[in-house]
């Protein structure tokens, strides 16, 4: 995984627009959040292989980054993104890692199912 270069991500987002894509979107505190610190509220959600299509999308912020994708009838949004898998040239694999290195958020787009 490499640190996000926003210009590079923007061109990848542009390349994938206007097509049916498989989405994996996830936000998680981890299952141990409350066990390790009882003041923390554990919360997680993910959706895998949802089929979506967006007409416009962009990356914004100064890092960690936000991505918003405008779909036919709504939006897809992720905040806290820090890393990209640059070796994966077909799929857009974005993740946000906290100061401990743990994954907090993931936004992934692919022409084929994950």
């Amino acid at each position: 995984m490499q640190l996000i270069e926003p210009h590079h991500i923007q061109s990848r987002i542009n390349e994938l627009s206007g097509q049916d894509l498989y989405l994996h979107l996830e936000l998680t505190t981890g299952a141990y959040a409350n066990h390790l610190d009882s003041s923390r509220h554990p919360a997680s959600a993910f959706i895998s292989n949802a089929v979506i299509r967006y007409t416009q999308g962009s990356i914004s912020g100064t890092g960690p980054y936000r991505v918003g994708l405008k779909t036919g009838q709504g939006w897809i949004y992720a905040e806290g993104l820090t890393h990209i898998d640059e070796l994966d040239t077909k799929r857009l694999i974005l993740a946000g890692h906290d100061s401990m290195g743990k994954l907090v958020v993931a936004l992934q787009l692919s022409l084929e199912a994950f």
């Binding site: 995984m1 994996h24 996830e26 998680t28 981890g30 299952a31 141990y32 066990h35 390790l36 009882s38 997680s44 993910f46 890393h83 898998d85 994966d88 799929r91 694999i93 993740a95 890692h97 401990m100 290195g101 743990k102 994954l103 907090v104 993931a106 992934q108 994950f114």
Partner: protein, 231 residues
């Protein structure tokens, strides 16, 4: 070996086959690596049924070298390396989805566990204590194991040893009745832990610095289990 383990020994049970049923790669390392290595050294066969590949884990290495897409294949290799370090002869990867065990089709889940019990006829089954094991997958795995073994006739049931670590566990289920001194097997146990390269450096597991021998013994030298009582 400490006195409490006589609860198993008193039954004159010669341990020939142990089945560990745990949901994630690295559960075997922290729960039972030393106990398994010890029984293997005494001639036992061990089957580890790992329900998932831990593909929803949050640890991706420090700095991160894995992601949601690459993690399952990476953790599969780590799991195989860990089993080699312990000496586990038989690894079964059951292919359930990480984080989803509690939502899985019970017939499918229990059926997979029952098939293993019937095939292997283990003397001991190691799993998590349902309700006292923090991660929903741990609790759901332990519940499935207990539910399935509970269907067997009493005389056919293996001894079920459960790991528990929720903050209230001793208050609710008392102290562990099986305590295994694994200091003689710490080399295997640490190699098993460190085989999980994407995981073990996390602060709540081993952390990012080299531990002293004293720290290793105090943290990992003893493994504790609660014998599940079917009533």
């Amino acid at each position: 070996m400490i006195m409490e383990e006589k609860t198993i020994m008193n039954t004159n049970l010669s341990v020939q086959h142990i089945l560990a049923v745990l949901p994630h790669p690295d559960d075997e390392s922290f729960v039972a690596a030393g106990t398994l290595a010890k029984y293997i050294a005494e001639g036992a066969q061990v089957t580890f049924a790992c329900l998932t590949l831990g593909e929803m884990g949050r640890n991706m290495g420090i700095p991160p070298f894995a992601n949601r897409v690459t993690l399952p294949a990476i953790r599969k290799v780590e799991l195989e390396d860990s089993c080699r370090a312990i000496g586990i002869q038989d690894l079964r990867m059951l292919g359930f989805h990480d984080k989803m065990i509690e939502f899985e089709d019970r017939e499918l889940l229990d059926g997979a566990i029952m098939a293993l019990l019937q095939e292997l006829n283990p003397d001991i089954v190691i799993t998590f204590y349902p309700g006292y094991s923090v991660h929903p997958d741990h609790d759901a795995t332990g519940a499935a194991v207990v539910r399935t073994i509970g269907q067997l006739a009493e005389e056919e049931r293996p001894v079920v040893l459960c790991s528990a670590f929720s903050s209230n566990h001793e208050q609710m289920i008392g102290r562990a009745d099986v305590t295994v001194d694994v200091t003689a097997f710490l080399a295997s146990k640490m190699a098993s832990i460190q085989a999980h390269r994407s995981q073990f450096q996390a602060a709540e597991l081993v952390g990012n610095r080299v531990l002293t021998q004293e720290e290793i013994i105090s943290r990992y030298g003893t493994e504790q289990f609660w014998t599940y009582r079917f009533s």
